[in-house]
């Protein structure tokens, strides 16, 4: 069964029900039921017209859910009058993205709702990807739907809210059977096909450029491989080429945003045949651009690393000294720069300290290993 096709059809099936006068919450529930049914029955009995099948089943589910005869008759009249429609499926899909990323939703609710209504994933799949019980995820989604129930379905919103949600899904990476990064790319591609906006293209380029490194990013034992040590032969050159081309198309439009700037940095890394040949001077310049369009302090932390590579560890440490030491990963950056500055003793101590405050297991193990490496070398 083509589960990706099934997912891709989801927004348009929701919008068919929407045009029949069904409100978003009920339409989304009915389509979810149809998806679960499709996953169950399609492998043995694939339909000739998948979209038609989904519309029929979802519509039947909706009618079953709303027993009132009067309402049903009224809606059947609507169906009779249903023409080819004046609103295109593309506009409907776009409206759905905006609704699911509405600013009144918390980030976790927006992510869950987007994955279900736009992504066509089942509640069970989303719950397992985020390692929470299915009942919890079901409640998160139904609360999110109640929150947006008063929002008009047809009004465009701020595309930045949608991009933020897709970025969150991508950055969550891979923590279960479901490949969230690949799903985020699919949804961003679909968004890019419905709206012409350089930041959408920028985010898609950023995702492709990072996804291209995926195979090289972890060792067989699951440990993190830092960018400088990655086997660049394992980078996906096709994805890189596509990402770079997209980025260039976005940049010529001269409406820079944070995702284009981040993608530019990723592209410069992708462009270097070896870590030593990285154009750090240009990367610093892009971090400066990035700092101009976003006030995220993490950007300045990453910039300090780049300055350390471009102008030497001393310059990097000087850039670091201007930042708040309580920033996440500040100590890890300080450790790295001190090692480059020829002070393994300080570096080892800072690596060990950074490991204590690491936000995830892979980073903690990596930092502990760095401290151990320096401590072992000093004993020899």
């Amino acid at each position: 069964m083509d589960e990706v096709l099934l997912r891709a059809l989801t927004p348009s099936v929701i919008s068919v029900l929407g045009h029949r006068g069904v409100d978003f919450a009920a339409a989304e529930d009915a389509v979810q039921d149809a998806l679960v049914e499709a996953i169950r029955t399609w492998p043995a009995d694939p339909p000739r017209d998948p979209k038609g099948w989904l519309v029929t089943v979802a519509w039947r589910r909706f009618l079953d859910a709303t027993r009132a005869d009067v309402a049903r008759r009224r809606r059947e009249e609507v169906v009779d009058n249903e023409g080819t429609g004046t609103v295109s499926a593309v506009d409907d899909t776009l409206a759905l993205y905006f609704l699911c990323a509405h600013p009144s939703l918390t980030p976790s609710s927006a992510v869950a709702l987007t994955l279900r209504a736009v992504g066509g994933l089942t509640t069970r799949q989303i719950a397992s990807a985020y390692l929470v019980p299915e009942a919890t995820m079901a409640q998160r989604i139904s609360r999110a739907k109640r929150t947006v129930s008063g929002v008009r379905f047809d009004r465009p919103g701020d595309v930045a809210t949608v991009l933020r949600v897709l970025y969150l899904v991508f950055n969550e990476g891979y923590s279960g059977d479901l490949d969230l990064a690949a799903e985020a790319i699919r949804l961003t591609r679909q968004l890019a096909a419905t709206i012409d906006h350089p930041e959408v293209t920028g985010l898609l380029a950023l995702m492709l450029l990072h996804h291209a490194r995926r195979a090289a990013r972890t060792a067989p034992d699951g440990s993190l491989v830092p960018l400088a040590e990655q086997d660049r032969g394992r980078w996906d050159t096709e994805l890189i080429a596509e990402g770079v081309e997209m980025l260039q198309a976005a940049l010529v439009r001269d409406r820079l945003g944070e995702f284009q700037a981040q993608a530019a940095i990723a592209a410069l890394h992708a462009d270097a045949p070896t870590a030593e040949q990285t154009d750090w001077v240009q990367i610093v310049e892009w971090y400066d651009e990035l700092a101009r369009v976003t006030d995220n302090p993490v950007v300045r932390l990453n910039r300090a690393v780049a300055v350390g590579e471009a102008d030497g560890a001393r310059a990097g440490l000087a850039a670091l000294a201007e930042l708040d030491a309580s920033l996440p990963r500040y100590t890890a950056v300080a450790a790295y720069l001190h090692e480059r500055d020829g002070d393994p003793e300080t570096a080892a101590r800072l690596y060990a300290d950074a490991a204590l405050h690491a936000p995830n297991l892979a980073e903690r193990d990596h930092l502990t290993r760095q401290a151990a490496r320096l401590n072992t070398r000093r004993r020899c």
């Binding site: 976790s108 992510v111 009942a135 969550e172 990064a181 990072h210």
Partner: protein, 135 residues
């Protein structure tokens, strides 16, 4: 979207305000306490933030490997162990602030006399998956 462990201690936490051990409560007070905990978990399921909740028996056994082909060595329970975990709740929330807010509510569970225990709970973030985008 971060998971936190709300940890409840039999021993090892600072003394709560309403510091009467549970065996001195009335049965109705115990029922009210259990009901509060169940309602809290149900409410978090309703808000889409509940992951898991478990209680542990106070008795445990220490176990260690004793070499190839030999049964493991067991010992304990050790009455003198300083810290003793009573149970936990795992939540999945949008921010650290929200985790603190919920732990505060959980700490208000009623004890003796029906008044809040003001029990100290430990809030520990989970170490999760690393993010994809780091440079």
């Amino acid at each position: 979207m971060a998971k936190f462990l709300l940890l409840k201690h039999y021993r090892g936490a600072p003394a709560p305000i309403n510091n009467v051990s549970m065996d001195r409560w009335t049965p109705a007070e115990i029922s009210a306490h259990v009901q509060y905990m169940n309602d809290f978990a149900a409410r978090l399921e309703g808000t889409g933030e509940f992951v898991d909740g478990q209680a542990l028996a106070p008795e445990g056994t220490w176990v260690r490997y004793d070499g190839e082909g030999r049964p493991p060595v067991t010992d304990g329970p050790f009455a003198e162990t300083k810290d003793l975990i009573a149970g936990w709740m795992v939540i999945d929330v949008d921010s650290h602030d929200r985790a603190i807010e919920l732990a505060g509510e959980l700490s208000a569970a009623p004890g003796a006399g029906g008044a809040p225990i003001h029990e100290w709970l430990e809030v520990r973030p989970f170490l999760a998956e690393p993010p994809t985008i780091t440079d």
